[in-house]
Amino acid sequence: MTEHIPDTVENAAATPDKDQPFGLLGLKPDEYQQIREILGRRPTSGELAMYSVMWSEHCSYKSSKVHLRQFGQKVTPEMTKNLMVGMGENAGVVDIGEGWAVTFKIESHNHPSYIEPFQGAATGIGGIVRDIISMGARPVAVMDALRFGAIDHPDTSRVVNGVVGGISFYGNCLGLPNIGGETWFDPVYQANPLVNALAVGALRHEDLHLANAKGVGNLVVLFGARTGGDGIGGASILASDTFAEGGPTKRPAVQVGDPFAEKVLIECCLELFAGDCVEGIQDLGAAGISCATSELAANGDGGMFITLDNVLLRDPTLTAEEILISESQERMMAIVRPDKIDAFLAVTTKWDVEASVLGEVTDSGRLIIEWKGQTIVDVDPRTVAIDGPVYNRPMEYPAWLDALQADSPAKFPRSTDGDELKKQFLAVLGSPNEADTDWITNQYDYYVMGNTALHTPDGAGMIRIDEVSGLGVALATDANGRYCQLDPYVGAQLALVESYRNVASCGATPLAVSDCLNFGSPENPEVMWQFARAVEGLADGCLELGIPVTGGNVSFYNQTGDVPIHPTPVVAVMGSIDNVARRLPSGWQDDGENLYLLGVSADELGGSAWAGAVHDHLGGVPPRVDFTAEKELAGLLGAAAHEGIVTCAVDLGTGGFTRAVADGVLRFGVGARVWIDEIVSRDGVDVTAALFSETQARALVSVAREDDVKFRGLCDGRHVPVLRVGVTDKQSGELEIQGQFSIAIDQLSSVHRGTLPAHFGPVVGG
């Protein structure tokens, strides 16, 4: 074996004309030229590796930055008053009162999850959890938003089993309750599934930590798993490249996760924080040591000196360049005061976590990395981590969009026949995107930690944060690629209001947003237009609702060949509740309660579950968004939960009234008698629209008879339209839509719960 001699700064200066493979590393010629200008020479091979990963789309946000700025601009002081840390850090941090803060973020791991579904999804959970730890928080829950190809495609089962198995394996082994999420199937995700993982953590205000390297002379410590050859180029090669037919298999670039190592790392970090052993901390994710060193230095005193030989290796044959960009999992980098290093190492030793001091913080303004006594990197860290290229990419209104919007589902016949409506009702409930996801969520532990107040199938997940006061947080994720394909501006807002309504429906007050923006190639002007419109819609919507975006992630290049996925901005809304004992489930449990529909119904079936499930159709325009009505509804639900005068709330989203009433029945298996005539007459819609329209700002609630007067008074006072539409019936064992049809709960359940098992195998005890 010949020893790899790394390129040194001295050598680079001496050999300016050396041919460098910047193209293979994903850099464009002008980007390479820019690096030469910054350095005043050609980069060394190590520097080239660093710049190439840090300037990749995945790490630099070079195509999205100009649009994402709106999230910081379209804000009011009122929106940011509870924001302790905003966008740009590992995750946003929100003050929820009583001295508690919550940090949460959603992030994609799409491309690795197609190549190697199990490990790709597992390491997606691992990565987002490390972001949460980096803020000084104890992770308290995870969620996942998943998109797969057609449910009956021969390859879908491989991806579904792998992804769900990976999330189950990693999340369960970490001891984090998985409290919710969503799953969709659509052929547009066939060769490009989406795996978006969310993690939430809780911390006391004083425990907040940031990713910066401050204090000259402080030590830079790498700890956790050893550095190996996995995930080299993972971020840059995978996330910035489209899957081309017949290309070489990319499996080796996917990282491999070890949840046991991560669990130990979590506990170790929390003990380090508690012992005040850490000044600044950063997790190692995409771009590994390159990212951690350059970001920590750039956000701190500006300089850092690193001896790369001190990195503990799993594979001693790794080259310096590989060590710089390895994405080995379960690693963290901390900035530690010299007088604290012994205490630091005592904690890592207790947890059997390996640690090594790589170097120290300087004020030189340079990130200098040495290897075998030679300088192989000498850069201004800001040029690597912050001041990368920014593109204002060309945009173009999609040529096909007008025709798609003109193709309204109004062309389909509307039945008034009870048997036909029943058939459609069941078709919607059994359709893959509306079907029950027990097959997936039964593989997740939601009990661990003992603080889970709500979980799937409730519309939002809820976690108790303070075991004495009962203070808690609720979270929901939503996205609707079908709506977004019809109108990305409105579609993104619809994801936002749906998620907002889910959080409000469980009795919590929405506070903040994290988003994961999944799109096709930014080099496609139509995709770029979709992206810009979605971001604009989301930023405008957040301003209307008065809740800030605290962070998130952009995933481009989600396409196969030339066909991009539907724009899929996943929006996570986090809210707080002063006592989780006041939460509302999304179903009724008691007999003889009144069911009320809040909000009014219009004929809005464009992009609906009905159009998809009954007519296999996507066209027209999505439902309108009414922020004022959403805020009034949320305010009412919060007040009603607080005063304990509603017993459940189910928001109306996809599948409209149909899905809500079925959810309400199936949550606890308690039947209901429901009438829709008054919806028809008051709102001037037909029976089809009353059952299936996806008009927003609506919810179905159950109210005990003794609270009826109080509840109606509350609705009047808050100007929320209310209509009594049914009554719960524990004895009947069925759902009756009066004048139309009845369905036994057993039948409803087997249709709703049978779809996933029919394709992926039985549910245990199901």
Binding site: G165, S168, F169, N172, C173, L174, G175, D258, P259, F260, A261, K263, V264, K350, W351, D352, N442, Q443, Y444, D445, Y446, Y447, V448, M449, G450, N451, T452, A453, R464, E467, V580, A581, P585, Q589, F668, P762, V764, G765
Partner: protein, 231 residues
């Protein structure tokens, strides 16, 4: 009464077990696997989780932790020991309980609210139940299939050493629907389902009465408190 909960690297439900002991009225004491000292506790819980990442076999490495020789000594002297899930696997690996636990027959991790029958109340961990009582507590495992050779199985059944049996659904292929067992003396009990997740109204399994209101696991921790007070 002081009840210790041992944290191994990879323990997950240790804090839940500590909370359960507190809710039952005991004094929870956190014990560390690397510290071979029981700190004067009167009883011990080995919690659920994935100690040492389930490497080698579930519970196999934990069974050789420095604290475990103390636990084995104490168990042999009659100290109440409860192993939950990974803790059950560890007790089996430490030969304090019979049989073995293997991968679920259906091959996947499963989380469900599981109905059990309490088969034996002559132990310090089950005395608070009534003989044959049906309870519902959460189950969550990937390797919960109980196995034993014919002779052991015959002995477990013959000597009344089966503590809990799965009802309605056998969630993992366990022989004879066995969910948990005891030792001959009745001080050591292990089970796959998680009593510590059904101890607090609002955070347990759903019941016909109310959402998340199931507290059928609490009696297990109350049993040991009562037993030790009496002894």
């Amino acid at each position: 009464m002081r009840v210790g909960v041992i944290t191994f690297p990879g323990s997950l439900d240790d804090r839940d077990a500590l909370r359960a002991i507190k809710l039952a009225g005991g004094d929870p004491v956190a014990l560390w696997h690397g510290d071979p000292d029981l700190h004067g506790v009167d009883a011990i819980v080995l919690p659920g989780g994935f100690s040492y990442g389930d490497y080698l076999r579930c519970g196999a490495i934990a069974a050789h932790s420095p604290i475990m020789s103390e636990v084995v000594d104490a168990a042999n002297k009659g100290m109440p020991i409860l192993g939950i899930c990974n803790g059950f696997q560890t007790l089996v690996e430490a030969h304090l309980l019979a049989g073995g636990l293997i991968r679920n027959d259906h091959g996947t991790f499963i989380r469900r609210d599981q109905k059990l029958r309490v088969e034996n109340i002559d132990t310090v961990w089950t005395s608070g139940y009534t003989q044959g009582q049906e309870i519902t507590i959460p189950l969550k495992n990937g390797e919960g299939g109980f196995i034993a050779d014919d002779e052991t199985l015959k002995q477990l059944e013959g000597d009344g050493l089966v503590a809990f049996r799965y009802l309605e659904v056998n969630p993992n292929g366990s022989l004879n629907d066995i969910a948990g067992i005891r030792n001959a003396r009745g001080n050591v009990v292990g089970l796959m389902p998680h009593p510590e997740h059904a101890v607090e109204p609002g955070f347990g399994p759903d019941t016909p009465a109310a959402m998340s209101s199931g507290t059928d696991g609490l009696a297990m921790f109350q049993s040991v408190l009562a037993a030790t007070v009496l002894s």
